[in-house]
Symmetry: D3
Subunit: 135 residues, 6 copies
């Protein structure tokens, strides 16, 4: 149970309804998920977050499915149940197959493992890698 009241469309103020309409239009759906209903307690937070997500997830050089998988990777590393579920559902809609889930999870798992080894052994970054980022 969320720690704030979820704002339903019917009880929302005009500003919030406008954002809800844009969310449903952009996602081609007819319902609002709990995440947005919780943010609607503060319309500014709702607007800023939605506009950020819309900008980041719907345009650019990376394709939408790749973006969803990156989102799942971060949400998994952070252990965020809500975002893992919502973005897995979104990725499925965009064509993520079981095989892609498995590869995605294998990479996430391997990265977590080597992150721990590199941190735990305090391994210094090779100078070639530091230089590589900017040449």
């Amino acid at each position: 149970m969320a720690t704030v009241k979820l704002i339903e469309y019917e009880e929302a103020c005009a500003d919030v309804r406008q954002i809800y309409d844009d969310i449903m239009h952009t996602k081609e759906t007819d319902w609002i998920n709990n995440f947005w209903k919780a943010l609607a307690v503060q319309p500014d937070l709702l607007r800023r977050t939605w506009e950020g997500v819309k900008d980041v997830m719907t345009s650019g050089v990376l394709d939408p499915l790749t973006k969803e998988m990156i989102y799942i990777a971060v949400s998994t590393a952070n252990g965020c149940t809500y975002c893992i579920n919502s973005h897995t559902a979104a990725a499925r809609l965009k064509g993520m197959t079981d095989e892609m889930v498995s590869e995605l999870m294998a990479i996430i798992g391997m990265a977590n493992q080597t992150n721990a080894l590199a941190n735990g052994l305090q391994i210094e970054v090779d100078s070639a890698f530091r230089a590589g980022g900017l040449k």
Copy 2:
């Protein structure tokens, strides 16, 4: 400075040399980075980790650059300096442009933000999302 001795090629035992050779051959390079030199203290750990990374990163339905970006996403969420640097260098070699870095970071940043909002407000997963994963 690593908390274990880094094993150089010249001083490595035959088992470790064989893995080092495979690393250099697979990566088409002529040097071994510190990560593997630190794991070489225990040849079994070196072999298992290298074989895992090789399997996960070099075959599959996801392309190699997408895999590197997912790796960077996890390493960023975990704050692993070594892996961020090494996989950013690897991704650059595979064609990651500045524009792709920016989009990748924008997604990572947005995911971290919404992860925090979803956790902080204890938002429940919508039933539609839970169902979505398995249909």
Copy 3:
């Protein structure tokens, strides 16, 4: 379900009861929450933890509500469901309004985002900031 037995007041030893009494007296309440009942498996752990929390949360230059919000911020970053819920309830009792929750979450979300950007891009600390802490 906790991985240790929760110790109820009735079955607690005298040492534990004394701490339970102090918890209820300090919080002006007549019940013990699960957190303390779980720690009571080891009275020393219970005592040390409770005395630490009491010292840290009930005295000082920062006011009690600010302290609760800082506690929520850390618990959110760590994804601890129990502590998010218990300290949100405590903060509500101390006067946290919906507007304050929203601002708190906005800061937590923004901090998580910029933390990720700063780590992901491996941005070096400006010398002015390093110096700033100690002048």
Copy 4:
């Protein structure tokens, strides 16, 4: 060394300069810190992030110093060196004393400890706390 080029004011495009000017004007300073110079690789990311930070950190019911301390708390839990340093410097400018730093750290430390205990023992949220968030 950052994994992208830092954009100095002199070489920035007009869009970026305008944001840099707003950053310096808002912060009442005459220099741009590395964080913004790194984001400037993608002007949209720079603009969205700056506008988010400005909105979140400079207005509202919570005072600016409290906001900085919450920012430090999150950055500490996430282990983000850059943000810990930059927001500690900002908080010092806004009046954070050594005593406040110590109390802040004591709360952060205590929260991390109890987060671990609650997670490690898998303690269930008391129903009174769940209810408390919404009444």
Copy 5:
């Protein structure tokens, strides 16, 4: 509810059944837990993960119970509910008493606290400690 289908023994292919048999034989049990059933969507991921876990957890200079407690410590720091529960159950089978749980949790809690203090105050590593790792 997992985001992939759990593969039961009856419906598993021969490769997966062989691994399931090895899991049950190694653990001296007659059932497969959900973790392996989820990985079985991709037999390679299942095999690599199981072989890794088997190698790491069942041989070596550290005794099996110590290994389980280290596993619980990491899982607690990462907030992984599944792994905390499964490895606590495993550790109980290997003889972990309530007193050991309490000591384990006390260490985990204390480490989380001092990790936060060291990060939050940006304390530099003493040269004696850096040297100590390699002499």
Copy 6:
């Protein structure tokens, strides 16, 4: 560089000196490491933290070296450079060999990997594991 002044023995007040003396006596050493010098800005924080660490790390059913390895495991999962270095040095003094480091790291790495897989796939805890903790 720490964000607070490090308090040297010579300039410390009597309360702090007494704690410093106890630290050196307990550790059988003749110097104070930076961690304690930073906490000394607030003698109460120093005393509470030191007493907690001393209690947790020096007595009990788990042996001191096992305790240090658990500490390293948590610090690695949290990415705390200071604590990884200081507790690795402490563990070395207590007899941790290269082989033990390697096994410790292998467990930490494996736990991080399976934590990610369990979270990322949202695998439900088996009822047998939930029951196992409390029988």
